[in-house]
């Protein structure tokens, strides 16, 4: 079973996002692994453990810092890591999906995992696009995957606890919402050891796809309303909240 995980390295939203021209100033932000990709890597490793196979993690190296992410994926149970050396921090989802698809095609995977979405998916998510470029079926919002007889049995979540079970003849692309178990922890010592010994395969980007979007503006939202901020020490703030709740009969 050849399992591929396509990941996305994205600007961290933990800090402020500075703007340059009509887009984020990518030189001034930290890049992190898309949080849904942590779930996607875990789900891929769970499938590998259940059916025996190899997990290849592949991502576009946008800023030359993808190695750390790939080492972490290897420490969590991936077998092979590939980076597409693009050096283009503004690359759209369409462009990344195209580069990834061209690279993934040569791996002839049985199943491809991707995070269901990323916070910078302005032009859509890479999962369904990879499925379109590789002519494979796609299901997103997935919370469990089991494989037997070259068929994947998938649980997809709607909202409010409703969902549906599907059976899909492989190969396919899965957009992971949450792995069927919480992502495992990789000890830093193991990541360090892998960083010293692992080989990351490098591939040049191949294939063009444009998002077809003209940027007019990128800015923090103009708030229509703002919370009344409670200030002071934590004890003072706590007292203000308790007083507020009491005044409204809520405490």
């Amino acid at each position: 079973m050849d399992i591929v995980v396509a990941i996305k390295h994205i600007p961290s939203i933990a800090d402020d996002l500075p703007v340059k021209g009509n887009n984020v100033d990518f030189d001034s932000v930290d890049f992190v692994l898309n949080e849904f990709d942590e779930q996607s890597i875990e789900q891929a490793v769970l499938v590998k453990e259940a059916v025996d196979g190899t997990v290849t993690v592949i991502g576009v190296d946008l800023i030359g810092e993808l190695d750390n992410i790939l080492h972490l994926a290897l420490a969590k149970g991936a077998d092979k890591a590939i980076k597409i050396t693009a050096d283009d921090p503004a690359a759209s989802s369409h462009q990344q999906a195209k580069w990834l698809s061209d690279a993934i095609k040569s791996l002839s995977p049985d199943i491809v995992f991707a995070g269901v979405q990323a916070s910078n998916d302005l032009d859509g998510q890479i999962g369904p696009m990879i499925a379109a470029y590789l002519d494979m079926p796609y299901i997103g919002g997935v919370s469990s995957v089991e494989i037997s007889d070259h068929t994947a049995t998938i649980n997809k979540e709607f909202s409010g606890g409703f969902g549906a079970k599907y059976a899909v003849s492989l190969p396919m692309v899965v957009g992971v919402q949450a792995a069927s178990k919480p992502p495992r922890y990789a000890p830093i010592s193991k990541v360090r050891q892998i960083a010293q010994t692992a080989t990351i395969e490098k591939i040049a980007p191949s294939g063009d796809a444009s998002a077809g979007l003209a940027f007019k503006k990128m800015a923090a939202p103009v708030a229509t309303g703002h919370a009344e901020m409670l200030t002071g020490s934590s004890k003072e703030v706590a007292a203000k909240i308790v007083e507020l709740l009491k005044s409204k009969g809520l405490a």
Binding site: Q125, G127, A132, S159, Y166, A227
Partner: protein, 315 residues
Amino acid sequence: MSNNVFVITEHMNGKFSDVSFEMVGKAKELASALGGQAVAVVVGSGVAANVFASDSTIHVDDAALEQFNPEAYGKVIEALVKEKSPRLVMFGWTATGMDIAAWLSARLGKPCVAYGRDLCIENNTLVVNSQVYGGKMIAEVAPEGDMAIVAVLAGSFPAEAGQGSTAATTVASPIALDGLKTKFVEAIKPAGGDVDITSQPKLVSIGRGIGSKDNVELAEELAQKLGAVVSSSRPVVDAGWLPRTRQVGKSGLRVKPKLYLMLGISGAPEHLEGMKSAELIIAINTDKKAPIFNVAHYGATNDLFEVAEAMLELL
């Protein structure tokens, strides 16, 4: 090419979701500005589809479309869009719309905008506002070319403007639906046995800022003192710290309590969808630029653990 605006509606168990009506209402406004028609598209089987205020409604009816099947629905919508060439195709940025919008974009080579929050026509050009980076930024973009696909966040427009009684035209599937690789097996219903957070008057809701499973206990204690129940944003559930029955937001439950006390939740659009109608929203989050402060009634940027512990002493 036409100037028509297609809305890909969503329904489950015979009921259309609010976002379907919200989109139809917006589509009417856009179609009018473009000189085209607002067309509601209903993919399914035997759906009572005369419910929209659209200029026309197309019901693609086939037994194979009775349940949502991303592959079948995608193929039908692709064939229909190729045949009718609308100027704009609107999807919900929802569990179903998210499976098809970007796929269709890549299939057709037409631009797609996700996380759509508003659309307008400026000088005959479509301009879309998209709420990206967890709600921290608004991107304003103009899709190039003669057709655009936009997936909009639920709750972006009023639903009333889309409600009506336009008679639907039922058509057969424009594409053969045999040989599908994806088969619907069964519906999954919500797991019972836990408290129903949608009926609770008070919720203490925790987010990523709670840090670890061990810290959930502090929120539980505070909730108990307040006569509340603990709910959470998605990352807390994905990490296995709370069961999925406690999740508020797009992929979780919609709540409307009297009190929604938020500890360490930044307020991504997906979470806001589930709680913005709460009567009193108090948010504690150390990031002063967290989007939640644009929605909460009261906010504080103190350490949530210090505030929670101090509240416990006072209650």
